[in-house]
Symmetry: C2
Subunit: 374 residues, 2 copies
């Protein structure tokens, strides 16, 4: 047979922007499609149950070797592979390194790259800067949750943690909840909160945007609260601060009272099977506040016999009508998000398609003819 030349497309961060990675409205649409595929089982991730978040490299608290890094806030590497079916039918892997110390070096906390591959041959289709890809898809997921789970006519929205995930989550939630009138922003670094305030004032001039200085102010009287903290932050949410009908969209850690959460909140997640996979890959306690995945707290509560997994609902099943979401204006909902590689595959593929259409990016040759054809 004729040897096959292989080329693929490299998209740097500017290319990704030019190809539409910051289009939150489109991203939310894609994520809804992903959740429908999840609900129907038309995807494959890694791990024993084909639902793994990914494979982690982390570092010891007390390294026994000269140069081996020491554990630290947000310090890890992670590879996140997935096949996604439906109209996508594409496979990919996100690989990133993260270290909160990057910020003091003028770099993002995490530096992420995405590879998309032809599902049939494994040929790379694209290699993409994935910082914005990740931030936007991560922000879109709270947006999907707010669309399906927020109390109709929600007025007050609170942003706890105004880093890149907080920013994109805010954009998504404001996109889907057109009734919002007031926004509160809380961040341990006040200048970060002020930066987001300015951005929201510019983009949403009708909104009343306030920076608040205590966590309590950021919770009370709020209809929708987005938690997206980083590093060692683990905000303690007092149950008596929470308004009836509130929705928490949680992409990070959050310290909720277990009795209140289990008995007085409806627990919704992105994909419960992913947390079950985490229980194969890790040991109790599964929840690590500095890693910030609230659904792992549910694993701990199950392990501690405080609850059973039956009370947990997948957002995909709410979208496809297989499960109930909000049933009254009084429901308090805790929507916990862990992040899944299927999101990266979907949004990465859409941006790749846009780039092809608009002739964006750098074409790279892998080989004209492979040195070894077997």
């Amino acid at each position: 047979m004729t040897p096959a030349r292989v080329d693929f497309l490299y998209l740097d961060e500017k290319d990704m922007i030019a190809a539409g990675v910051l289009n939150m409205h489109e991203c939310i649409n894609e994520m809804e499609k992903v959740f429908t595929l999840l609900s129907n089982g038309d995807y494959i991730m890694g791990g024993l149950n084909d639902n793994s978040h990914g494979i982690l490299i982390d570092f010891p608290e007390k390294p026994q070797h000269d140069k081996m890094p020491k554990d630290g806030p947000d310090r890890r590497f992670m590879a996140m592979p997935a096949y996604l079916g439906g109209e996508y039918n594409v496979t990919g892997c996100k690989w990133y390194g993260s270290n909160i110390a990057n910020i003091s070096k003028g770099m993002p906390r995490s530096i992420l790259m995405m590879t998309l591959n032809d599902t049939d041959t494994g040929v790379p289709l694209a290699y993409q800067s994935a910082n914005l890809l990740s931030a936007w898809r991560t922000g879109a997921i709270p947006g999907v949750g707010a669309k399906y789970l927020a109390r109709p006519n929600s007025k007050v929205f609170s942003i706890v943690g105004a880093g890149s995930i907080g920013v994109s989550s805010a954009e998504a939630i404001l996109d889907v909840c057109q009734t919002l009138e007031k926004v509160k922003i809380y961040d341990v670094i006040k200048s970060t909160a002020e930066t987001l305030k300015k951005r929201l004032n510019d983009n949403f001039p009708k909104l009343d945007v306030q920076v608040v200085t205590t966590l309590k102010e950021a919770i009370i009287e709020c209809d929708i609260i987005n938690l997206a903290t980083a590093g060692e932050a683990n905000p303690k949410i007092e149950s008596n601060w929470i308004k009836a009908g509130a929705l928490f969209t949680v992409s990070s850690s959050g310290d909720f009272d277990s009795v209140f959460a289990i008995n007085s909140m409806k627990l919704v997640v992105d994909n419960w099977a992913m947390y079950e996979a985490a229980s194969d890959e890790d040991s109790y306690p599964y929840y690590n506040p500095t890693m910030g995945v609230i659904g792992r707290q549910f694993l701990d509560w199950i392990h501690e016999n405080k609850m059973t997994p039956e009370i947990i609902t997948n957002i995909g099943d709410v979208i496809t009508g297989k499960a109930e979401g909000r049933t009254s204006d009084e429901d308090i909902i805790l929507y916990g998000l862990g992040g899944q590689p299927v999101y990266d595959v979907a949004w990465g593929y859409r941006i790749y398609q846009n780039a092809l259409e608009k002739n964006i990016g750098t074409k790279l040759n892998l080989w004209d003819e492979a040195y070894q054809a077997r």
Copy 2:
């Protein structure tokens, strides 16, 4: 702080060759260093015990969705991340797709890409075509085994499976065993065997190279036998074919009699902890002949109470003197190899260093200044 510009180096297959990826002698040296680091614990891979081979995406035998691929020979995607210490102190991830049907399309069975990252920041250093990287590092590992485990004065070497791994393994073993006089080649595709014969005749004119047409001929009277089959091949090795003092270097599947292997062979592996990790990530039976990792057969034999793990030796411990390798000219040794991402990190990093030194490759910009610095 000043925003940090990020660039990295892209190395296509030709660049990798120019930077020395086909230098087997150097590759064997690097792999010996890797095994020393493994024996000393100066590395981190994924999984519960930090020793995972990687995370697998495979496909169902009976897909329930329109486009979802069906399982087939060598059909999988795999992400393989690792941190490697010592003089390397670098982190990386190999990601590949594999499908034996590629061969009929003029493409290699597997298409592999390697990303190397700064361990501290996660910044990508290099994105490399990893087909030859993988084939050479995979070939070097039997070479390291032959150097430490073959009977001194070995004369007859047999190559069972003459695909890319068979070719590179042969090159490695011929590099380390200078006493070899005769080579037998066996492949189910005769033309593949003939191609390797020609190559060996050209490169090693003093060797007596024969293509043999039965597996039996490829085993009897041989001092070193390299098994590197692919797809559905699972060569059945009759115990009475095996010469006293023989060394089997096995990068693929191989059907050995369990009683003979356990009682009459010394079992050596690349890293037993990796197989223990596989037992966390998979369920019994662990050995799948079409995936071809002989060390997983040992997991099955342990599960079946036929043997205990204490009889297994790590090659790294042989190199560092923590364990005994060959103790007599009569020892029959089965050296089983599963492949580890630390090899890719080491060889990838060496080639990257060579490329920097020789100004090889394409410099790619990720960003001048990240769009979001948090």
